[in-house]
């Protein structure tokens, strides 16, 4: 499973990415997790299963859905509390739930 986190400057998101990777490793899950700015999204779409949007750039949701959903990529905004408290496990669960919904 390939998870992409889209945010703005990427500072706090990169902390979250680290926590998510630790969680994935602890659970022995086969996932790759990357954080990118929105402007680079188009180059990553083909290798992505799930896009999670940082709550502070939630206004990008419509735009991202337009390009991602036709390619079958699942899109969601990261749960605000989980984002704030840097709960890697919760965000990872959110991504997994999105995929199983399909």
């Amino acid at each position: 499973m390939n998870i992409l986190l889209v945010c703005s400057a990427g500072m706090s998101t990169s902390i979250l990415v680290r926590k998510m990777r630790e969680q994935a490793e602890a659970q022995a899950l086969d996932v790759t997790i990357e954080a990118i700015p929105e402007s680079e999204l188009s180059h990553h779409l083909d290798q992505t299963d799930v896009i999670l949007i940082g709550p502070q750039v939630r206004y990008l949701e419509t735009k991202i859905r337009q390009v991602a959903e036709p390619k079958g990529v699942r899109v969601a905004i990261i749960n605000q509390m989980a984002y704030g408290l840097m709960k890697g496990d919760l965000v990872l669960e959110q991504a997994q739930a999105l995929l199983t919904e399909a």
Partner: protein
């Protein structure tokens, strides 16, 4: 309320504004390097440790400062030229047309319009901050034109097997020709018929008045207010208003830097309100002066070590020291939290007023450096004022004031939370 988020969101995602913002973000490394070069060249002595004097003694008066001056010439001094490229590049990229060609066409058009000096030179004045608005308008216009012309199939197609780069540069040939003819013709008209240049007209009619307004207390308060309202709704405030703030405030700090470089003391440089002014004295620990909020939480909740507020504060402190505050904004949360709305806006507005008074009355030197926004408080206060302990003092005063304002609201939040949990237990 949803309407507000929607409108703010639309502004935040508007293609041209995003291109302007990304264009400025792209040149920030150069801008910061240029600014630091000036700061080092003019660093005041700390007690008996006089770096500038020592270097002067070693290499001869002023010789070594040529290095910093050269760096300045290639960075901040050509601000307009740099964004003419970077904004066109970003916009073209968002349309998925060849960004390199769009950037180059924009630079070429920019140079066409720059008034040429008598000995066939380009004036740094127009390559730099004074040409910023022309750069923005021109890069957006030429890129839109480029994109439209590409769509009309007025392009030269190449046989299969020709390398991609060659195909792209030939595709750009006809659109580039038409755009340059248009811009060149316009410049000819300006010089012959009006005997002025687009640069002078735009600078005098748009840029100068906007900058004049930018360096006022109401403008500073308006920015602080707007930024925090946006963050309160969970939107990236600085990001959304960035496209408007940078073009107005970069030239203001540039004027300060140039005066500082020419030997003016940091007290006497022209402009009070700059982006570093807000970053260093108002957004201490991030938007909302949240470092003070963390202090307030540690102060109010001393006994209950595992209180949720305290947990968030503990988690947020390391990042907060580097002005990263998403954890506290989304975790406490501040977003849509009615108790936090008042201090979250009151604190930055108060600090803006206090800092403005302190700087404009000469109590504290004005800002003469652009620092990476992650520079920790106290260090930033020292550097941004050109190395003055008064900059640190103002940050300490501001942090204390902000903490004092946050304390009653944190206490109210703790009470509300207690009542809520007790209510749950009772029912």
């Amino acid at each position: 309320m949803n309407k507000f988020i929607e409108i703010a969101g639309r502004i935040g995602a508007q293609r041209h504004l995003v291109a302007i913002r990304d264009g400025f973000v792209a040149i920030m490394p150069l801008i910061i390097v240029g600014s630091l070069a000036i700061l080092i060249n003019n660093f005041p002595a700390i007690g008996s440790l006089d770096f500038v004097g020592w270097m002067n003694g070693l290499f001869g008066e002023g010789n070594w400062q040529g290095l910093g001056g050269n760096i300045w010439n290639g960075s901040f001094a050509i601000l307009g030229l740099l964004v003419a490229f970077s904004i066109a590049y970003s916009l073209a990229k968002s349309y998925d047309v060849d960004p390199l060609s769009a950037g180059l066409i924009s630079v070429a058009s920019y140079i066409i319009l720059v008034p040429v000096t008598k000995d066939w030179g380009l004036s740094f004045a127009w390559l730099g901050a004074q040409g910023l608005f022309v750069a923005i308008i021109l890069s957006l216009l030429t890129t839109e034109l480029f994109r439209t012309l590409l769509k009309t199939r007025l392009t030269i197609s190449m046989p299969d097997g020709v390398p991609d780069g060659v195909v792209r540069s030939f595709q750009a040939l006809i659109p580039a020709t038409l755009i340059l003819i248009l811009v060149g013709g316009f410049q000819l008209f300006m010089t012959l018929a009006i005997e002025s240049s687009l640069f002078e007209i735009i600078f005098n009619s748009i840029q100068k008045p906007l900058q004049g307004f930018g360096d006022t207390l109401p403008a500073a308060i308006a920015i602080a207010f707007l930024n925090h309202i946006l963050w309160f709704f969970g939107l990236h405030g600085t990001n959304i208003i960035g496209a408007v703030i940078e073009p107005i405030y970069l030239p203001l700090i540039q004027q300060n830097l140039e005066a500082f470089q020419a030997g003016t003391s940091a007290y006497d440089v022209p402009n009070t309100v700059t982006k570093p002014f807000l970053d260093s004295f108002v957004f201490i620990g991030g938007s909302g002066t949240t470092l003070a909020l963390l202090f307030a939480i540690f102060f109010v909740i001393r006994e209950q070590k595992n209180h949720p507020y305290r947990e968030v504060a503990k988690l947020s402190t390391p990042a907060g020291l580097f002005n990263i505050n998403e954890p506290v904004i989304f975790g406490l949360p501040i977003v849509l939290n009615p108790i936090m709305l008042i201090p979250f806006i009151l604190v930055p507005v108060t600090l803006t007023i206090v800092s403005y008074v302190a700087l404009s009355t000469g109590l504290v030197p004005k800002t003469v450096a652009i620092l990476p926004w992650t520079t920790p408080p106290l260090i930033s206060g020292y550097l941004v004022t050109g190395g003055s302990w008064r900059g640190i003092a103002l940050q300490v005063v501001n942090l204390t004031l902000a903490t004092a304002i946050y304390v009653p609201f944190v206490a109210a939040g703790v009470r509300a939370m207690k009542k809520q949990t007790e209510g749950k237990m009772a029912s």
